[in-house]
Symmetry: C2
Subunit: 547 residues, 2 copies
């Protein structure tokens, strides 16, 4: 059987746009003689629609879209993902379903069994799990339809409890009893640089264990924080990856199950390059899917804003990115020069706006109240917030969306000013540790200097008081990032982190800073997720707690 894998980038709730993309793929597949074309999980709505799934008219539009797609399936079959109303009297309102379409109508429907409800996944909120197992029969072949997590009944252990079997049911175990010729897995797997190996391992082991080929069809493109990396694959019954589609972009491939041909695989990329690609897609889709064109950001001469600007230019083009330089009396001349050089290297517009007069006026207005106190955090924050006001004024006046430049190390320990440098519509580096910020800057400069060398090599500083350096109040980033990764991504308890070779004092202090700053992150901009545990809705901590 000739199966077309259609790896597409959907917009959530854009029923017409999504269906039109699918129509085009169905047409293309038909022209190229495919028997079946497969789209990804919830392709009709885009993944993940969250509480839009609670709106009846949203579900009705999805139903109509599925019917319209079915009508195009003449002389070809298609598998699409969409929500479906649970007709039973009991249970949640919806199923997360795979529709098998052919002869112009819905032939059969398969519901998702394992509903991921952890980290950024929230599917049991909306869906009832499936409990019945059947295969689709088409052109004499039996196809086992599964949806993403259905193959993940066993999970690599990433939790403190060492448990790797997250579910009671194994859909593959059940489906294998029906002797399918091959498995189709329609998926919506977001990228995380430190977990993507797992995905292939799971698919390979399932194909091999059940001696059944697997078509894995992922979506691509970003949905606010989540970045889907594509990389759909066909794996034969020996567990060999025979075909692999592109990463971070749309792609289309027909696989003839009778005649696989020679392997077609993608060039492997290093993890920094992958993160770079992910962030570029994340920025681009945030803007384009919302109908925004232009971005603005504050350029401090530091590495975070430089890297964010470089990513934005790659995503949106230099004509759509503008920088605002807002030196204060504590900014070195070097910082201004570095920022200017960056803007010139990138070919973006930049403006220099004075903050000192407004800062001085604030301090004057507050003088009667603040009399007798020592200048400190309050005054530093006035500077950071004055910059926030100015760059938001540019955003409000001319329309560009403010990009936030906070990195994950800073976000973790609360090293940033709420309503100041924490402002922004999208946090580009919020899931990238500082050490990776350095590495990615070097990656960007691999063919010539774009980010000024000085921005990379000078000691990081917020420049909110004379000669301030990040290391005045934080451990060296080499150590800090390792402690944070162990605590956040790996969820290790303090004792195990100390055992990695850090002092108890430093580990305790870092963890305390992470815990104490939940309230700041609560109000932070959405963060492009590139790891297995980003700050945001995938990591929910109580704000009011003693712990």
């Amino acid at each position: 059987m000739k199966v077309a894998i259609a790896q597409l980038n959907y917009i959530i709730g854009d029923f017409e746009g999504n269906a039109n993309k699918m129509f085009a793929s169905i047409e293309k597949a038909k022209l190229q003689g495919a028997d079946l074309v497969v789209f990804s999980e919830l392709s009709v709505t885009g993944y993940y629609p969250h509480d839009l799934l609670e709106k009846k008219e949203f579900i009705q539009k999805a139903e109509t879209a599925v019917q319209n797609i079915a009508k195009k399936c003449i002389g070809i079959a298609a598998i699409v993902g969409a929500p479906r109303v649970n007709q039973s009297e009991r249970g949640k309102t919806l199923f997360n379903s795979a529709f098998f379409l052919t002869d112009g109508k819905i032939q059969s429907v398969y519901n998702k069994t394992l509903l991921p409800t952890y980290d950024i996944f929230d599917e049991y909120r909306h869906f009832e799990p499936n409990t019945e197992f059947q295969v689709a029969e088409y052109k004499g072949e039996k196809i086992a339809l599964t949806i993403c997590e259905d193959l993940w009944d066993e999970q690599p252990t990433a939790n403190e409890f060492g448990k790797d079997k997250l579910y009671k049911v194994s859909p593959m175990e059940e489906l294998s009893k029906l002797s399918p010729d091959f498995v189709v897995n329609i998926s919506a797997s977001p990228f995380s640089y430190n977990q993507e190996g797992w995905r292939k391992d799971i698919l390979v082991s399932k194909a091999k264990n059940y001696n059944t080929p697997i078509f894995y069809v992922n979506q691509t493109g970003a949905q606010t924080e989540l970045i889907f990396d594509g990389g759909s694959v066909f794996i034969n019954g020996k567990g060999e990856i025979c075909k692999e589609l592109k990463y971070f972009e749309e792609d289309f491939l027909i696989v003839d199950t009778q005649n696989i041909g020679k392997p077609e695989l993608q060039q492997p990329a290093g993890y920094i390059e992958k993160i770079y690609n992910a962030l570029v897609v994340g920025i681009r889709d945030y803007f384009h899917k919302m109908g925004f064109k232009q971005a603005v950001l504050g350029l401090s001469g530091g590495i975070d804003s430089a890297l964010t600007a470089a990513l934005a230019v790659k995503a949106l083009g230099p004509e759509n990115v503008r920088g605002v330089l807002m030196p204060s009396k504590y900014s070195s001349q070097h910082s201004v020069d570095d920022a200017r050089e960056l803007a010139e290297n990138l070919g973006i517009r930049y403006d220099i706006v004075e903050i000192q007069p407004a800062v001085d006026q604030f301090e004057k207005s507050l003088a009667p109240l603040f009399e007798g106190t020592t200048p400190g955090v309050a005054e530093e924050n006035i500077q950071a917030r004055s910059r926030g006001i100015l760059v938001m004024a540019v955003s409000n006046k001319f329309g560009p969306i403010l990009l936030n430049t906070t990195n994950k190390s800073e976000s973790a320990v609360g090293y940033g000013t709420l309503y100041g440098d924490m402002n922004g519509g999208l946090a580009v580096l919020g899931d990238v540790y500082k050490m990776d910020v350095f590495k990615m800057s070097r990656f960007i400069n691999r063919n010539g200097e774009i980010i000024p060398e000085n921005s990379i090599t000078k000691p990081p500083s917020a420049e909110l008081r004379p000669d301030q350096k990040d290391t005045d109040s934080l451990p060296a980033y080499e150590d800090l990032d390792q402690i944070l990764f162990a605590f956040i991504e790996q969820n290790k308890p303090p004792g195990e982190i100390i055992a990695m070779g850090f002092s108890e004092e430093v580990v305790t202090r870092v963890i305390r800073m992470v815990n104490m700053n939940e309230y700041k992150r609560f109000q932070a901009a959405p963060i492009l997720r590139i790891s297995s545990k980003a700050f945001g809705f995938g990591r929910k901590m109580p704000l009011v707690a003693k712990y």
Copy 2:
């Protein structure tokens, strides 16, 4: 059997403090001759610990606490709620459990069957559902232990799909086969003024249908956004509420199942009074549980800041609340007078701080960039954000936490400035519609003027430009609030809202405003929840979507 209901206010993760409270209740119950004392759901940890449940050391501390409580149960039994590790090889790591403690040890354990995962509930994220049903036997009686949602297999229909049986299993149906003498339901039910009738209806109908008395034991106090209202009850097998504990405070009562005695019920309160009590508890617990004492807020002379100040004074005392008056050139003298009068009525400190000089300096700094443009939103926001800077400077300098004064109507339509008047550590009125803000202000003034009459009667205005009124850009609040309630709390589609008697143009515009401002609410302060659908983590909408 003499059963003590211990309705307590827990702090999340405060194992020692929570256990000490329970020790005291066990002692008291013993002294008063009780056989059994019942605490609420996850009482050992406080409800809801969110992803702290993913930390092994957190679970270990909970286990230790349960064992320590068991040791106190000599000559008495206790039922406590705590997480428990799932020892089976498959399934989620934890159960949400009720521990039956007596003779100094854990006698038996019962796991929660129905795991609410909708709105603000997220239990399937962490817990495996129970599938086995047993009763506890104690002093010759059979006790059916259930946990909160276990009695809620049938739910009043509040969704667009008209479905009222949310779960496939009915724990009461299963447990009734074991002929229990009575049911204990340990609970953590947050308050919502428009749903609390449901709770009693469900309990009454379960008691009556199964002809079995029910002890319903709730927690009280606030956990960040969520406010638990107590109101624990004993219902006899005829479905009559015989005993009712206090609302919004700790309480303790012993019920002798052999000799119920005369009914003891609470005075019913109107819904505005309930919301008022809820918000006072919400503020108080946010501060006290975090170890904060003082609050600060901007006083504009308007009704929202006046009401917030009055609530804060009730919660924290006048000595712990301070106001900052920050008039601009568009503020009327009346506004300043109203704000001053309010502060004097409340007996709180207030300071007047000038914003105009800083605003002027911002505009001067931006003049070269803004040349040729017409003053508009950008300039209005500079004012709102300058106020935000000043009041945050007071917060940073002296330590009081900034209270946000945005009401739900404003938050819904995005009528507020991000990083300006949307600033704050806690949004007190974020779930209170404007019409209820008026009603609550009248309620506060019921025994004499506290909130100046003028703040209540003058047309609401943001005072960001000359003669600005809210109704310049919004429908009248009478209409707006009804449309919003239908759209947000009732999840009605546009057609049904129009059928309520509003024009299509207005309904479409309001819904568009709600949808377009998800990005603002994403960065808003945590909101004290008093309705069935508050903005915040109980209502998740995709930011990037076409809908």
